[in-house]
């Protein structure tokens, strides 16, 4: 099949247009990848400025403002797995009781005031509400199944994978708060 000049010209123009489209789409893809990689979000390794504070399930404002050395363990208390979480953290607390440097445990309820019914059984403080920034940090840590440990000046000491066994959990915390 032989092409006339007009067809050759059309073919070249069409090819050039397609090449332009290809380059344009490639550029869009690259800029999307760039914008995706720079989506700002809080990282759990950034310690929040100011004191950890929030409302507990009884509606009392709680603050973590120790006078001396002390650690704060922040974890999410899952209302759907309340029994398992209760047992894990009550036992973990018990295992870490004899430490010289005290540790405060804050369980952040994932369902607001719904954890209220567990407050009498818990050895730790259950908080229902935090300020948006701190709550986002906790929610993000929970999304990767992590717990957070802060020191008395509110610096992030560690974020640890949450364990199912209280012995493993307490050992992991112990390693980080020596």
């Amino acid at each position: 099949m032989r092409l006339n000049n007009y067809q050759v010209l059309i073919t070249i123009v069409a090819t050039l247009l397609l090449l332009c489209a290809l380059i344009r789409l490639l550029w869009l893809d690259v800029s999307l990848v760039r914008s995706y990689s720079s989506v700002p979000d809080l990282d759990v390794s950034i310690s929040a400025s100011g004191w950890w504070q929030g409302y507990d399930s009884a509606g009392t404002l709680r603050q973590f403002r120790p006078n001396g050395p002390e650690y704060l363990v922040v974890f999410v208390f899952h209302s759907q797995h309340a029994a398992a979480d209760m047992s894990l953290w009550n036992e973990t607390m018990q295992l870490l009781q004899s430490r010289l440097v005290p540790i405060t445990f804050w369980g952040i309820c994932d369902a607001g005031l719904d954890c209220n019914i567990h407050k009498d059984v818990a050895s730790f403080v259950i908080l229902s509400h935090l300020d948006p920034y701190q709550m986002r940090i906790v929610a993000k840590a929970d999304a990767t199944d992590e717990i957070l440990i802060y020191n008395q000046v509110n610096g992030l000491v560690a974020h640890l994978k949450r364990a199912v066994d209280p012995y493993i959990m307490s050992h992991a915390i112990e390693q980080r708060v020596r």
Partner: protein, 169 residues
Amino acid sequence: MNYATLSKIVIISLVVICTLEYIVFLAMRDVGRLYRSNETMSIPTGFLLNGDYLPLRSAPCYVIRLATDQCRYCNMDQSEYNQLVQETQKTGCEIVVSAPRVNEMKLHPVENRVQLQYVDMKMMRALRPVLTPQTFLLDRTARIKWSCLGSVDIHALRLALRALKNINN
């Protein structure tokens, strides 16, 4: 291979590559966004700046504004934002203002606007307090119908009012 066959191969290859790139673009466009349209947030509840508890309640829609007193960009769009508030209040929407951190917003008692300070986890699983201002329009089931990161300009306001109209229909 003659010129015609070669042209066909080149053009078909380019069309296939462009189509693939376009599919990648469409797929990634949603992934890269901080918030997606119709993403479910949660109906704002929690403790207000004055210490009162804001319980779960029903409204046809909710406007959530994340802002601070010190943020310049939060003051730049007051005209557009107030217009949005006025229009949404006409349809019974609830206006909730919050600051990312405690002490970043003073108590400004304004009728029909609540200043939420302590929030629950459901809300913060979706909301990212990384910049101010952020403004959201949620429907009665807390789905994001419109959002604006940064100051609300006239174009964003127009989109918000269109979204409000869709909520009401």
